[in-house]
Structure formats: C-alpha cells, structure tokens
C-alpha cells in the first residue's frame, strides 16, 4: 500500500512545523529519521524554546516569524486548536502557491469551515489532518520519532479539495509511519466526541470527584481510567469548546446509559446489571 518511507531524494525541500511541542517535535524527529526533508524550519512564539529544539537536533532553524517559512513546500500546523486558523492564514500569506498546509488538531469541522476559502485554493491549499497519537506529556523534550508508527491519522478533505493535494497530505503521514483514513470534518468530530473528547471529560470528572481520603486507595484501575485527565487544560478546553455540540450529544447518550446502570442497582436487578456489563466487555474486547 505505502511507498518506501525513505528514498535517495528527500520528498520535500523545506518542511515547516508551526508549534514545536510534543506533536510538532515528533513530526520533526520522524521526518528527520526518514530523511523526508532537506531542511526543517520551526515556527513558534518563544525564541528560547525554538533554540532548544534546534539544539535538540529536531529542527534546523527556528523563528518567531512566518517569513522564515517562505520557501517551504509543505507546512504542518501543530498549535492548539484555537490558534490553528490564524496560524494557517499567516503561513498562507508567505508560502508559494503550490505549497500545502495541513494541521494536527483534534477538531476538524470549525477549522475546515473557517478555512474553507483555502481548501480548494489556487494558492497554498489547506487540508485538515488529525494523527491519533500523543500523550499527556507536553513539550518537544518528549518528542518521539516513532509516535505515529502504525497509528491512525484521519485526513479530512472537503468537496473543494483537489484530489492530488489529498494524496500528497496522505503520503506525508504514511511517510511518518501512520495508517491514513479519510473522513469528512463533520464525521471526524462526531466520532472523536465519543472516542476521545467525552472520555477526556469523563476522566476529568472522575479525577475531580476524588476526595483526599481516597488517594491512598486509588489503584491501577483508577489510574488508567483517569490518566488522560492529566492532559493540558490549555489544549483541552478549546477542543471541548470547538466540538461542544457533538460532545454534549455524546454526554447525553452516556448519561442515558449511566441511568440504566443506576436503575439496575436501585431495583436490585442483577441480571440487567450483568447484561450491561457483558455488552460493555464485548465492545471493549472488540478493540483488541
């Protein structure tokens, strides 16, 4: 299916990464390892952080100005979802017309709607992406060249997207080791509300409900169930806000199911409870 990851000729001249944190840094590390680009430029807001990423060997050059990205033919915006649109537009101003811009954000509908004029553009075109990889850790210091290996990356072209551009973006993620699937931006957001955004909210609600007396008796089950609640609130608040409608729908469904559990306990109905637990186990086992 996928082409060889490494060829004698780098696929890109200059690759630009806007936002050199865990995801941006890992893209740089993976691109470096697979020799995908001649040069990697990082765009960020803090000089000292960019200098650190250069020193760590992740990027060749770091700048707080998008002007440094002008000669790139591929750009990935890895900033928090509430900054993606501005950052894509700033890059689109300086990049050449045949350049492509994608992102790595956890929401797609608002971003793709807001950037609709760039999706089918003759100038630099934008196509949304979301690699399903990451961790609760933050910062380029935790970069991992294998972060995307065998992980799903959702690419979300719109009706306006030129198929050839979609293929180029998909190949970029495959080159980093990912398995690419296509969804519309709306489909992406509905599904991710159930598989990622609601679980984050629920993990946070469970962690937030813990009482001081509980700490000593919180074992591995609790730790696993609430691990993602350690994620950066500055990243997650905008994700939940941008996908508020779908998250609320998913929460409504979950509350309905929690009521079924509560009813089985209230009415001392072990067979109803057993059935609910069996259905859950079947679904969970199905994930492998």
């Amino acid at each position: 299916m996928s082409e060889p990851a490494s060829t004698s000729e780098p696929r890109f001249g200059t690759l630009v990464i806007a936002g050199v944190g865990l995801i941006g840094g890992s893209i740089a590390a993976a691109a470096r390892q697979r020799q995908l680009a001649e040069r990697i430029v990082g765009i960020g807001r803090t000089e000292s952080r960019l200098a650190g990423a250069v020193k760590a060997g992740l990027i060749d050059e770091g700048s707080t100005s998008v002007a440094a990205a002008a000669d790139a033919n591929f750009a990935v915006v890895c900033t928090p979802v509430d900054r993606i649109c501005d950052d894509v537009r700033a890059l689109a101003e300086v990049l050449s017309p045949d350049a492509l811009i994608t992102d790595a954000g956890s929401t797609k509908q608002i971003v793709c709607e807001d950037l609709a004029d760039l999706c089918g553009a003759d100038g630099p075109a934008f196509i949304g992406s979301h690699p399903l990889a990451g961790s609760q850790l933050q910062g380029f210091e935790h970069s991992d060249a294998t972060l995307f290996q065998d992980r799903i990356c959702v690419v979300t072209p719109t009706d306006a997207t030129q198929p050839n551009n979609t293929r180029r973006v998909e190949q970029f993620w495959r080159d980093l080791g990912a398995v690419v699937v296509q969804r519309t931006p709306g489909e992406h957001d509905q599904v991710l509300a159930r598989t990622s955004h609601l679980p984050h909210l629920v993990a946070a609600a469970l962690a937030g409900s813990l009482q001081p007396a509980d700490l000593e008796l919180a074992a591995s089950g609790f730790r696993d169930t609430t691990r993602i609640a350690a994620g950066d609130p500055g990243l997650w608040a905008p994700i939940l806000t941008q996908n508020a409608r779908s998250v609320q729908d998913a929460l409504g469904e979950l509350q309905g199911r929690l009521r079924e559990f509560a009813d089985s306990l209230q009415h001392d109905d072990p067979s109803a409870l057993q059935k609910l637990l069996e259905e859950a186990k079947r679904q969970r086992d199905g994930l492998g």
Copy 2:
C-alpha cells in the same frame, strides 16, 4: 517496618486457598516463592482446573472438598464476593480453633456483617482483606508472584476482632510484599465505590456506548479509559450489587460534576471549563 519475608522456618504449616484463579493463584505463587508455607492446598469447584494448578506448581494439592483443608492454620478465600460468606463458613466448620480465615474480596461491609459471629470467635476467626491488585485477566494461568509487591492491601478488622489476629493477617499480606492499611469495612466500601467500583461502571458505560463506526478511531486514550470494562461481568455484577448504596452515592456526585461540564459547554463558558479541567489535572497529578 516489615519483618524479613523469608525465614528459615515457614510461617505456616498448611496454607489453604479457596478459589484458585488470578488472585488465589498469585497468592500461591508469592507464598511459594517466599517459602511461607510447608504445603499449599487449593479448594475449588472444578477438578480439572485444580489439577491444572497442581501441574503448574502453584498448589501441592487440589480438592473440591473443604475436608482437604482441615489441618491448615491459615486460609484465604479468593472466590467472587457473592460466594465468600458461604466459603468462609464451610472452612470454619473444618478448621482448628486457632486457624485464621481472610478473604480477597472487593467489598467488605456485607461480608463482615454477615460473618460478624466469626469475627471475634474462639473458633477459627475471620478478618476481611482486600488486596488492591489484579487485572482484567482471569484464571490461575495469569498468576504472578509479584502481583502484591508494593500494592496496598486493606485489612478491615471490626470491634470484635482480637488485635493479635489482625496482626497475623497483616503480616501475611506484608509477607507477600503488600503495604497494609486498616479501614473499617464501611470506610473501605465508601472509598472503593469512588476509586474502583464507580470507575468500573463508568468505563463500562463508555465502552457500551461505542458505535461500530467508532472502532477504527478509538485510540490509546479510549483504550486506557475503558480498559477495566474488559473485567469479568460475573465478578463485577456482585461487587456493584453488594456496594450498591455507596456506588449510587458516588454516581450521584459524578453526575453533578458532569452537569458542571455540560453547563460550561452549553453556556460557552471557557473559563469555567478550564477551571474544571485544571482541578481534575491537579487531582490526577497528585496520584503520581
């Protein structure tokens, strides 16, 4: 704090384990490794399973009859919580008056109330225990001699328990590597409702809400959050049923917090959302 785990003289003559599954098998493996007993007898319901545990070197002898346990001076009942009381009583009938019986069940109040007449008995005495260790795996085949190493074990003496017996049970768990804490049966159940039983119910509700289209896009966050939903419904339905009152209370608190999240989304109040996520992160980070 703890005495040396291994002495030249085994601490027990015969150690009895009723229910040789993951927990019972791991107790046997740990006791074997630390040479705590001269002989380990397994009591179970299925001859072939017991024969398998003998063959695996976990127990010296397996029997479907408690009569085989008659000469033991220490017994651990590792059966599902809805069978513990019957199994403790059956053992108490055959064991000598100075023998001790404990268990490894996830609920304590109903069990300790039901067995109150054995808690301060002159005959074989019962003291409740709950090692906070385990996994979603089942069966003695997954036994692990290090399962209890550095894990918390809650011991729940009642007012009627003789302090010397409490010390003996606590030393047993310490000998297996566990860190022992004391709680009343009621305190145990209230805390475990929040740290274990409700998280299980919530993980099951999340897993049960998954739609077929979601499977491909369920990444590590979803997997972690729902891992415990793969646990055996036959074990978990009785746990939730026995602790129904505390679980319902904990669920009520959680639903209140979920409403706060929903309100912040509904009213597009990012600062309220951010505050909820920050509180959750602080609590989760506090677990280390």
